[in-house]
């Protein structure tokens, strides 16, 4: 039998298992294997190798799933507690744009109120500064409260452990 046939058979034996072969190739291979003992042995050995691989089992560590589920639950809680940064940034952006657009009116308004009430200029100017900084101050307070809440939670977790 030609060496070429054996080479083709070897290639098809692997190809059949890795990616599949055409019906014509399958027929040719079956016929060749029926006639060639060494190629048939090779096909058997390949099949045996795959079967052995499929038969492998591993022992799972005890309570692996429940321990993982616990960790995932804790992390999910943590994630739920994290501030929604996109929302925070969007709120900052909107308040900045609104502040910039209304600043001249607020300035004039506060100036008018200051003069009507007979306040020194520095007072209503400080008021304007406070009005400008208010949104940032609110966000800072929210973040500080978030952080305080989270550090309290981690103390609780440490105690629980």
């Amino acid at each position: 039998m030609s060496q070429e046939f054996h080479v083709r058979a070897e290639r098809l034996i692997a190809q059949e298992r890795v990616e599949g072969i055409s019906t014509a190739d399958q027929q040719w291979l079956r016929q060749h294997l029926a006639e060639c003992a060494s190629c048939a042995a090779r096909a058997d050995a390949t099949e045996q190798a795959i079967r052995s691989l499929r038969g492998l089992s591993v022992a799972l560590p005890p309570a692996l799933a429940s321990r993982t589920q616990f960790r995932v639950r804790m992390r999910a809680q943590q994630l739920r507690g994290e501030p929604r940064w996109r929302m925070v940034w969007a709120a900052c952006g909107i308040s900045w744009a609104f502040g910039a657009a209304t600043a001249p009116y607020v300035w004039r308004g506060l100036e008018w109120i200051g003069h009507r009430m007979g306040l020194p200029n520095i007072v209503w100017e400080l008021g304007f500064g406070f009005w400008w900084a208010l949104p940032a101050a609110v966000v800072a307070v929210i973040l500080l409260m978030e952080n305080a809440g989270r550090s309290g939670e981690s103390v609780w977790k440490r105690q629980e452990n």
């Binding site: 692997a14 890795v18 045996q48 799933a65 993982t68 639950r73």
Partner: protein
């Protein structure tokens, strides 16, 4: 209509229904992951624990490490659930997350990788004594599992990995390529080489 064609039509609509159901499953899975649904995640951990742990064990070669990576993988699934598109197989996405964690860890260590999943030429396979009885003999004397484990340990991880994904996890070539972030041609060549080496090692031939 003949009985054969009726059966074929029924078969066709059944497979269509099955694939629609599968697609719906994947979509609802993707939605649940996006919502970080805790019950869904707990169910997935239960469902995939064996397959994921086995995969990690074979690519790391170490139980403790595989266990750590197992937990980290699920944390990643929780954090990055929104990245699952609901089109590909969930297990392929899951394995690729696990694989990336292992590769990141290898890169951080900067030591000789376990078996260098990233580079076929690197990586020392797990060794065992040369004077062991022939693996084929062990197979024949009902110690096949140990023999196969030992032989598998001799294969470089890049071959071991594709063999496991193909023949244990029954993933398709495209899905394996997704897990590996490699072209299908690379997957094929690794499978051919891995299968040939596995066969030869089990037969006690030198590779």
């Amino acid at each position: 209509m003949s009985a054969t064609s009726t059966a074929a039509a029924l078969n066709g609509s059944a497979s269509l229904l099955f694939s629609t159901l599968m697609a719906d499953d994947k979509k609802s899975l993707a939605l649940g992951l996006r919502r970080r649904d805790p019950e869904l995640l707990e169910g997935l951990i239960e469902q995939y624990q064996y397959r994921l742990f086995r995969y990690l064990l074979y690519i790391t070669g170490n139980r403790e490490r595989a266990e750590d990576f197992f937990q980290e993988t699920w944390i990643r699934v929780l954090e990055r659930g929104h990245q699952y598109d609901g089109k590909s197989k969930f297990e392929a996405w899951l394995f690729s997350i696990a694989r990336h964690l292992v590769i990141d860890w290898q890169r951080q260590k900067k030591a000789q990788s376990l078996d260098a999943l990233t580079n076929p030429d690197e990586g020392a396979p797990m060794e065992f004594a040369d004077d062991d009885p022939s693996p084929l003999h062990l197979v024949l004397t009902h110690e096949s599992e140990e023999a196969v484990q030992a032989v598998l340990g001799k294969l470089p991880a890049i071959y071991r990995e594709v063999l496991l994904l193909r023949f244990q996890e029954e993933l398709g070539l495209v899905e394996i390529a997704t897990v590996l972030s490699a072209p299908v041609s690379t997957v094929k060549s690794r499978l051919y080489r891995g299968l040939e080496d596995l066969r030869a090692l089990l037969a006690g031939e030198a590779v």
